[in-house]
């Protein structure tokens, strides 16, 4: 190539030569009458040289010279034309290439440093520029949603929390969270700010795989944008609960009724007298329990024990209980009475401060609940259980299991006052945080945030199983890469074929399926752009200069100044003009 590109206007070379030859031919024909004379030959040579210099003026020959200006511009989506123009005015004849997703950049061969304009390269293309010094200039301001984040998988009966950022919101517009049917669930009006953080909540009404919607509506109610929010709502399983009491209380009775009504398997033991108990089996529970052993506790998900029983636990019982918590993840809830708050650190995992407040208010409409005049002492391990941002209980993790307690008392009063919903809410919040989790063998995680058709979708699998095989719906196996430091962590890539829900499953475990949602090209546009921008900033930095000095080994064609050819032309034309006059 370097040989061929001696002329700058290489493409004009042959037509110009042809025209020159014709011109010369015409000249020869004109002078043909003088062919016997010597000056004919002299004129011929002069005319030839004149024409050659004319040709040279047109085709512009050049010479290879060392150059340090091997810069190029890569234009990506959303670049600012003004920026490009000012770059062009600084660097004349700078090479420019527009970037298309997934295709190699030919410019890379010719340049040693690049200006990157616009929102940048797709994350999976970033590697293409990795060995070049890059000045990433950024692009136009992104308008619309820049972040949408929410839980992809939530337990049924719990709230879906949506956090979103909207860049350049217009006042009068609304952000609306709508369910899969399109019924609005929550909304926030836009404000006059650069970027607005929006939080929306809703409680799904059914379990399943749904596509909720984040809508932007203008003041006339027209939909401006409509982003899908793929959500999996998973219903849990009923619990197996063991309740142990020294004597019956209303608190226990109502809690027991609540749990059994809700279909949980409950075994309640109340001491009648020394060594004699009242056993109540609900919803299929069986087998009386006298002393705790690891064996008989491990099948339970939750142990509800009153303070007196907890204090009176023998050494072996207590050890068994702790073992069941540590190894099997048993949740233990201690029903408080006054003596719990005075237990020493050796006996109780919780420490309390007296706060002299005997009543707290919860919920909308506000309801008051009675409480012991104590509060949990803050501790590294103590985790708060909150209802409406009021701490009602706390738990301490014990390896897999948890042990918890509350400061509320006489919550059954809420039921008597007719607020069963509040009662249910309190106990659901407390117990669900403490209870044993069903152990999954495989955990999935999507690394690519917005998967799209024919773009790499990276995912992560965590499993203690060895040699798992992952396959797509169509039964195609996906190879996994094991993490070198954490052997239970695997990584894979899939190129989705269709938009909407896609699934990946483990071929040797049919239960574990991973559903992810593939967006089509009109969805989440602004988010992809803002993600891309973030990746590019992260990768190339925000500085507008090159990090390294460009290497000077590059050679570039430098055109020969046409003034020489003009002079030759003038000289010979002058000769041709002067010669007949001299002759005369």
């Amino acid at each position: 190539m370097s040989d061929g590109s001696v002329f700058i206007n290489q493409n004009l070379l042959w037509p110009v030569i042809l025209v020159g030859l014709v011109l010369w031919g015409v000249f020869i024909w004109k002078e043909w009458s003088q062919r016997k004379e010597r000056r004919f030959w002299v004129k011929l040579v002069a005319a030839f040289l004149a024409i050659v210099s004319l040709v040279m003026i047109v085709v512009r020959p050049s010479t290879l010279q060392k150059s340090t200006s091997g810069k190029g511009i890569v234009l990506t989506e959303g670049y600012r034309p003004a920026q490009l123009d000012s770059l062009k005015s600084i660097y004349k004849r700078i090479q420019i290439e527009e970037y298309t997703k997934g295709t190699p950049l030919s410019i890379l061969k010719d340049v040693d440093s690049l200006f990157l304009l616009g929102q940048g390269l797709a994350p999976f293309d970033v590697w293409r520029l990795q060995d070049k010094p890059i000045a990433f200039m950024g692009g136009k301001k992104i308008e619309g949603w820049t972040t949408i984040s929410h839980e992809n998988k939530i337990p049924f009966r719990e709230k879906l929390h949506l956090n979103a950022k909207h860049s350049n919101p217009k006042t009068g517009h609304w952000a609306i969270l709508a369910d899969n049917g399109g019924n609005p669930l929550d909304s926030v009006p836009f404000e006059e700010v650069d970027e607005q953080l929006i939080q929306l909540n809703a409680k799904p009404k059914a379990s399943g795989q749904f596509i909720y919607r984040l809508l932007e509506k203008n003041d006339e109610g027209e939909i401006i944008s409509n982003e899908p929010l793929p959500v999996q709502v998973v219903d849990g399983k009923p619990l197996k609960i063991l309740m142990v009491n020294t004597f019956p209380t209303f608190e226990t009775k109502y809690l027991k009724n609540f749990l059994t009504d809700k279909g949980h398997q409950v075994m309640a033991r109340t001491q009648l007298t020394k060594g004699k108990y009242k056993f109540e089996y609900f919803n299929g529970a069986s087998n009386p329990i006298y002393g705790f052993t690891e064996e008989n506790l491990k099948e339970y998900d939750l142990l509800v024990i009153d303070t007196d029983s907890y204090i009176a636990l023998g050494r072996s019982s207590k050890e068994a209980m702790e073992e069941a918590m540590r190894i099997h993840g048993l949740g233990v809830f201690i029903q408080p009475n006054e003596s719990l708050f005075r237990l020493t650190q050796r006996l109780s995992p919780f420490q309390f401060n007296r706060d002299f407040i005997t009543e707290i208010t919860l919920g909308v409409p506000v309801q008051s609940a009675q409480k012991y005049p104590f509060e949990f002492k803050n501790d590294v391990r103590t985790q708060k259980i909150m209802i409406d941002s009021v701490q009602v209980a706390a738990y301490v993790p014990m390896e897999k299991g948890k042990i918890g307690a509350t400061v509320l008392q006489n919550t059954y009063q809420l039921v008597l006052d007719g607020s069963e919903a509040m009662y249910a809410n309190i106990w659901t919040q407390i117990l669900k945080s403490i209870t044993k989790e069903q152990e999954q063998k495989i955990a999935w995680k999507a690394i690519t945030e917005t998967p799209r058709i024919n773009e790499p979708f990276e995912f992560e699998v965590r499993t203690s199983m060895n040699g798992i095989e992952v396959a797509t719906d169509e039964g195609v196996h996906i190879p996994l890469i094991q993490n070198s430091l954490v052997p239970s962590k695997w990584k894979g890539v899939k190129y989705p074929r269709k938009s909407g829900w896609n699934t990946i499953k483990v071929s040797n475990d049919t239960v574990s399926k991973f559903s992810y949602f593939v967006f089509d090209k009109n969805q989440r546009k602004s988010i992809t752009l803002s993600e891309r921008l973030k990746t590019n900033y992260w990768e190339f930095g925000a500085q507008k200069d090159f990090k390294r000095i460009a290497s000077s080994s590059h050679k570039e064609l430098e055109p020969i100044s046409p003034i020489w050819f003009y002079m030759i032309l003038l000289l010979f034309l002058g000769w041709l003009w002067l010669e007949p006059k001299l002759d005369n």
Partner: protein, 744 residues
């Protein structure tokens, strides 16, 4: 000859005017017809517009002179002489004749081609314009209009669709005639209404008769009323079902053709309107009316009664109560209105004087009365009653009988309480001041002052203020006390006679109170010093031991405050007196409370139990107690919630519709129907949607989405329930938690 041409021209002109008028008329008539769809209005409009147009245009008024004028103005050849053509030859001079001849010959060819002035083009435009407007109007009406008026009963028809897909060759029987007759209960006097709209709204107890006629052969026709299947009976050509409306709900029809294919109709609502009970209002009467003994004891009772269908009867229930306390006696009477009640009126106004004397009421008696009205509903009429009104004849004497009705233990004697009563009376007096005469006000203020004095004297007794005591009984007389319920009248001589026989319960308890003594002994031993039993030193009031030192000082304070209170009352300044009264009350309360200590000091001290015997009973016979119970837990609207998830799968083509799904939708429908009874219209759309999914033709994505949306809209949130979550225990997390656990 020329005259003929002009005549012709005149005729043409007239014709064109007629035509113009006709065009306008047709346009207007067409407009009316199209917008009303009534040919009668169309013709009427046409005729009217024709008349108006002709009246305006007056085509018959175009005379030959007009024609001549027009020709002269527009045809140069006429030379302003065309008028000559109309004249007969012998009237004219020779020159005129010559001109007539000339003009005639020149006009001959021109005149036949001359067109009279007309606006035909404009008229045509107007006609088409009007017709177009009419068309647009009728289109708009049919599209957006259809207001409830007019032919609304024809808006909905029963439509059937096959439940399963059919081969195209099967001929589906068509419903050709629907008639729903609603027979309102006879008392509503509404008669029978016929409709084809299957969404029925009728009064409770109406009989509804469905008459369906099919053109094909149909095997059995049934009505599905909220899961209950009721068969139609065949009468000749049609199927008939009669039902009395007892509750709101939904229904649909199903039938089978001869091949056994099922057809099902849409879901229709059946709304029951309950017959409202009558409204009874008594006007122009205070809730309480008081009469003095010598007043004219008549009440004028004005009653307005209204009902939605008709009033059957109304009367007054009057209850007279005689006596008070335990000896109260009631007597109930039904008083008919003098005027006969016109049956079946929707609104009546009644007047009735109530003569309390006629009800044999004596002073002190009370009358409670209200108006009761019945409507004509069968079999059991709705009964409504007005508020209760009271009429009281004031008693001339106040019976003083101070037994506290419900307190078994009356800790304190009455006069401790009466400071409060004084305050209440004083406040009442202040409130009443604008409404009563000056004399009355002063009288009552003075009375209160007297009462205050009485009270002070009573307390003075405790202090041993003997001089005051002597003065007290002499000043009290029953007449002065009249009209004021004063607790202290009990002490007066009048009552002494009764005391011998009456049995005053509250006095019995007073022996618990050491420092107090009962009224009786006090009243009986008026001459003696009432304190002689308790006081050690009679001569020195300061040395009485009735109260401890501080109490005595307090009481002394109270007495002096009472002096002030009395002073202001006597000066007719009850406002100024009030603060003193409150102070006095407060001090008396204190005294009362300190006196109470005596009562509360008495308690029960159980004998101590020997520690070694505690919890040492024999428990051998006590057995473990076992109890087993199962609760069937079903989340609220469980099937509906499942249906939502299923619909999502169906919309996304992840699943094909099968029979199980159909069953689930039916279950969801049943769940919602339970809730829908109370509010049929909100749920009709949802239930209809679910029902539609049974038909193959409706199983489209749009329908799935629509149904899902509607379901989500009506569904309440799931109730809270702690459930077991699934989670992955990462080994690194576990390691961290293990490090964290240094517990114990």
């Amino acid at each position: 000859m020329g005259a003929g041409a002009i005549k012709q021209f005149q005729k043409r002109w007239q014709q064109s005017k007629y035509l113009e008028g006709l065009l306008y008329a047709v346009g207007f008539g067409g407009f009316l017809y199209l917008s009303t769809h009534n040919i009668f209005y169309g013709i009427l409009g046409l005729l009217v517009a024709l008349g108006i147009a002709f009246w305006f245009l007056k085509p018959w008024k175009i005379s030959s002179e007009n024609a001549v004028g027009y020709i002269d103005a527009h045809v140069p050849q006429a030379g302003f002489s065309s008028g000559l053509l109309l004249s007969t030859g012998n009237e004219l001079s020779d020159l005129s004749k010559l001109q007539q001849y000339r003009v005639a010959s020149q006009l001959e060819p021109v005149l036949s081609k001359l067109r009279p002035p007309h606006n035909l083009f404009k008229a045509t435009l107007a006609m088409f314009g009007l017709i177009l407007i009419g068309l647009a109007g009728s289109f708009m009406l049919t599209k957006f209009g259809n207001p409830s008026g007019g032919n609304s009963s024809n808006t909905e028809q029963i439509t059937f669709a096959p439940k399963d897909s059919l081969s195209t060759t099967v001929e589906t029987p068509q419903l050709i005639e629907t008639n729903i007759a609603i027979q309102y209960p006879s008392y509503t006097r509404k008669g029978t209404s016929n409709t084809t709209n299957p969404n029925i709204k009728a009064v409770e107890g109406s009989r509804i008769i469905w008459n369906l006629e099919f053109d094909g052969d149909v095997k059995e026709v049934e009505m599905d009323l909220m899961g209950e299947r009721i068969g139609f009976t065949k009468t000749q050509e049609s199927y008939r079902l009669t039902k009395t409306l007892e509750a709101s709900g939904f229904y649909s029809f199903t039938f089978k053709d001869l091949d056994g294919n099922d057809y099902v109709s849409d879901l229709y609502s059946l709304e029951m309107v309950t017959d409202e009970p009558p409204m009874v209002q008594i006007e122009g009467l205070d809730n309480y009316t008081y009469f003095e003994f010598d007043d004219d004891k008549r009440l004028m009772l004005m009653t307005n009664i209204s009902d939605d269908f008709g009033i059957d009867d109304a009367y007054i229930i009057a209850t007279v109560s005689k006596g008070s306390g335990e000896s109260v006696k009631f007597r109930e009477e039904t008083v008919r209105f003098d005027r006969a009640i016109p049956k079946g009126n929707k609104r009546i106004q009644l007047q009735q004087p109530l003569d309390l004397d006629a009800l044999k009421m004596d002073p002190g008696d009370e009358l409670y009365f209200y108006v009761e009205a019945l409507d004509q509903k069968t079999p059991t009429p709705n009964i409504a009653r007005s508020e209760t009104y009271f009429a009281v004849i004031r008693d001339t004497i106040t019976d003083e009988f101070t037994v506290e009705g419900n307190l078994g233990v009356d800790l304190m004697p009455d006069y401790f309480r009466s400071q409060r009563q004084l305050i209440i009376d004083t406040e009442k007096l202040i409130a009443d001041r604008p409404n009563i005469s000056e004399k009355d006000f002063k009288f009552r203020s003075n009375e209160l002052g007297f009462d205050q004095k009485q009270l002070r004297l009573k307390y003075g007794q405790f202090m041993g203020d003997e001089t005051e005591m002597q003065a007290a009984p002499g000043q009290v007389s029953s007449t002065e006390n009249e009209g004021d319920d004063d607790d202290h009248a009990g002490e007066e001589g009048e009552e002494d006679l009764l005391d011998g026989y009456s049995h005053k319960h509250d006095s019995e308890n007073e022996h618990n109170l050491v420092e107090e003594h009962d009224h009786e002994s006090e009243a009986q031993e008026e001459e003696e010093d009432p304190l002689h039993n308790y006081v050690h030193n009679h001569s020195d009031p300061e040395a009485s031991t009735l109260f401890e030192k501080s109490l005595k000082a307090k009481l002394r304070d109270a007495l002096s405050i009472m002096w002030d209170a009395e002073l202001h009352l006597r000066l007719y300044e009850p406002e100024k007196s009030l603060p003193y009264q409150y102070d006095a009350l407060k001090i008396i309360q204190d005294i009362k409370n300190s006196a109470r200590i005596y009562v509360h000091r008495i308690g029960f001290d159980p004998p101590p139990i020997k520690e070694e015997n505690r919890l040492s009973g024999d428990i051998e016979d006590i057995e473990n107690y076992n109890k087993k119970e199962e609760f069937e837990y079903q989340m609220s609207f469980a099937s509906t919630r499942e249906a939502i998830a299923l619909l999502e799968l169906l919309t996304q083509d992840e699943k094909q519709f099968n029979n199980e799904d159909s069953a689930l939708f039916v279950a969801a429908g049943n769940e919602l129907a339970q809730k829908a009874i109370s509010d049929p219209f909100t749920y009709l759309k949802v239930l209809q949607g679910l029902r539609d999914l049974e038909k193959v033709a409706n199983r489209t994505k749009e329908n799935y989405k629509e149904v899902q949306k509607n379901l989500l809209e009506v569904l309440p949130e799931a109730e809270d329930n702690p459930m077991k979550k699934a989670g992955y225990q990462d080994e690194i997390n576990l390691l961290y938690l293990k490090e964290l656990t240094i517990y114990e």
